[in-house]
């Protein structure tokens, strides 16, 4: 097969020479590229800022949602967003710009989220990423967003790090942080049951630990005590074992820091164990119509959660014009979505916040959007509960920090008490979780 040694040596030398020549040819070309230049504003006060994906009459926005996989329930958020953008476009767009919304599926896998966001930014050339869903996917994307200087705004996760992290100014959260939510529950317990014992079930990731740590911080130096803790992995099949361990503690309150599938299991076990009847606090991300439909209401003492947006299924808002517009648009632009779903309402409300931010841009650029989302002053959104507005500022990257408590009674959630402004009661969130 092979030639003689001399031949082979000559051939190797010739090949090395050719490779060197090719490299010498290629390297001076460096930096230049025949395709894919980013748009930059040339003149005026916004000179030097990026205008990719935004023109006088259109703005292209990309979102990455878990349409498949274990968290596909959150795919309904995309439906809500699509409905609101459809509603805005029908009314002439944002300042005359039609919103073009490109949705991609990451299956709730962080690495896939990075790939899909890359595809959105580099191939579809979107103006901004609105939104990414879940703490892992958002954490995975934010380095890329910071490197490419692309706004990643109003991400659908309540981790407190989005608001406290100064190294990633292009990423900002939206919903009340898990720490804020934990504070609302702590406040409620301190007022209604100052000597309560609490058992905590939490998902062993940033989300779960964020809320658990926030709760532990908020009840410190009070009579409320955590007497038992159990964690589960998001890949676990179930939480029956953990619940059995918690039941043996006999705590007065069960704090269920879970995602929908595990929340439903926790409810089922709580209902089945007749010897233990705690007040069942469930965090807001776990609440979905499917979960609540499975609850055997008579067998659980009391179910409490925190809310901040209007509930389309609640008769209290049946005649509300904002909720009416939501129902109508959802039927027209995303008929597959259930209007009662908190996720669809979440998407609608967040999209509305996004449009308000777009309207507040001084420059129609990515930098302009980044500045706008960090400069919200009590901006009203009509599907948030009355008294809750969007506020950010220098050193405050948390748009919503107020919540209200709600009780699950007769098959629906009813809010009670006052709006709790956690910033006013507890001060700003300072602790960022690791990473």
């Amino acid at each position: 097969m092979r030639g003689t040694g001399a031949q082979a040596a000559r051939r190797t030398r010739a090949r090395a020479l050719a490779a060197a020549a090719a490299l010498a040819l290629v390297l001076p070309l460096g930096g230049c590229r025949l395709a894919g230049q980013d748009g930059v504003v040339r003149t005026g006060p916004c000179a030097g800022q990026q205008s990719t994906g935004i023109t006088r009459d259109a703005v292209k926005v990309g979102g990455v949602y878990p349409l498949s996989g274990p968290a596909s329930a959150y795919g309904a958020i995309a439906a809500g967003v699509r409905a609101y953008f459809g509603y805005v476009n029908a009314g002439g767009g944002v300042d005359g710009r039609r919103i073009e919304f490109v949705v991609r599926d990451d299956g709730y896998q962080p690495a896939r989220a990075v790939e899909e966001v890359r595809r959105l930014v580099e191939l579809d050339e979107v103006f901004a990423v609105f939104q990414t869903v879940g703490t892992p996917s958002t954490a995975a994307v934010r380095d890329y967003a910071a490197r490419r200087r692309v706004p990643q705004v109003f991400v659908a996760t309540g981790a407190s790090r989005w608001g406290t992290d100064t190294a990633h100014p292009w990423t900002i959260g939206y919903q009340p942080s898990y720490v804020a939510e934990a504070r609302v529950y702590a406040q409620h317990l301190k007022e209604t049951a100052p000597q309560a014992t609490v058992a905590v079930l939490y998902q062993n990731d940033d989300f779960g630990r964020d809320l658990r740590d926030g709760f532990a911080d908020a009840v410190r130096d009070s009579g409320v005590r955590i007497v038992a803790e159990q964690s589960y992995e998001v890949t676990d099949p179930g939480v029956q074992g953990q619940l059995a361990n918690l039941a043996s503690s006999g705590a007065d309150v069960l704090l269920s820091v879970t995602t929908p599938k595990f929340a439903a299991q926790a409810f089922a076990v709580d209902a089945a164990v007749t010897s233990w009847n705690p007040v069942h606090i469930v965090n807001s991300v776990a609440v979905s119509p499917a979960v609540m439909a499975s609850v055997e209401a008579g067998k659980i003492r009391e179910i409490v959660s925190a809310v901040y947006q209007k509930n389309a299924a609640d008769p209290e808002w049946a005649d509300d014009p904002a909720v009416g517009a939501y129902r109508e648009s959802l039927l027209r632009y995303a008929p597959e979505a259930d209007p009662a779903s908190q996720q669809a309402m979440f998407g609608w409300t967040a999209a509305q916040a996004f449009v308000k931010a777009l309207q507040r841009m001084e420059c129609p650029t990515r930098e302009g959007l980044r500045a706008a989302v960090h400069r919200l002053d009590e901006v009203p959104v009509d599907t948030l509960l009355p008294g809750i507005t969007l506020s950010t500022g220098p050193g405050d990257g948390f748009p919503i920090e107020s919540m209200m408590l709600a009780r699950f009674e007769e098959g629906r959630w009813t809010s009670f008490g006052e709006v709790v402004d956690t910033r006013a009661v507890f001060g700003p969130v300072r602790t960022a979780s690791a990473g």
Binding site: G36, L67, D105, Y108, E122, L123, T135, P136, Y144
Partner: protein, 340 residues
Amino acid sequence: MNIAEQTGRRRLAVGREAGDRRRVWPWPRVTLAALAAVACAAPFLLTPYRVFQLTMILVYGIALLGLNLVVGQSGQISLGHGAFLAVGAYTSAVATGPLGLPYPVVLPLSALLSFGLGLALGLPALRLRGAYLAVVTLAIAVVVPPVIKRFGAVTGGSMGLSASVPSAPPWSGLADDQWLYLLVLAVAAAALAAARNLLASRSGRALAAIRENPAAAEVLGVRIAAHRTLVFAWSAMYAGVAGTLYAWVVGFVSPDSFTVTLSIVLLAAAVVGGPDSPAGPLLGAVFLTFVPAAAQGAGDAAPGLVAGLVIVIVVCAAPAGLAGLLRMAAGAVARRLGRE
């Protein structure tokens, strides 16, 4: 009757068998040079996203090259290569992140680590045959993600870990994605050359002998277990290197990226690409990168369905994989040209 027919195996590639009179592609060197030129020019002609996709193809290509050593050359089945990819990726993320090591050190480090791990696991595993090896390697693939999650202090747990991305040195004047692409291309070229050298060497011939007829090979004095273990370690090293490059390209590693599904998909891609051919890994990687992305437009469950269908069609219609099809096409063209 030759050995291949006796053992019921497919025929060897063109030119690898004595007395083979099948037509071969007459200009392998020119084609290779043209491909190399195109590969070098690509990052300057394409948009960043396409460059990124090409880089991913090369990364998976390196992993499949390694897998081919086990599947194609030694005739074994490994369902655990996703785990070695994870080892390489996490080595890179941890070494460049918390430990602060420079990039040039990380690549040999993770190569060494995955080679060692492959050797350690190969020692007991490769004394097993056929389905048993598949089961043992499957166990490796299943165990690795939970282990990564368990050591959250180092690995970031289920949240994953940001890996810092090598940026282009200022003297090159390249954009980051171009630099990364050329870096991966260089590693891929070196990997391909190393694999070819390995196969042309004594142990390459020993492997071919073991695959075609283990008993005959043993009689001739080939130490089967030693050769199989070594090739498994080499293969693991390739996967580890690919994992490191993966971390550089994607910039993020998480346990969910290296589930058992990845290992299975890698094996499927190796089979679809053609396990016994130098072009196979590249074609397999193209399949791995483009088919799911292209099928996503068709609907939610489409990627899985389409990938499954393609695998079934390829296995039924072209047992030698896409590379086999390519070879047949090339042979047909060569015959046509030869007649004129």
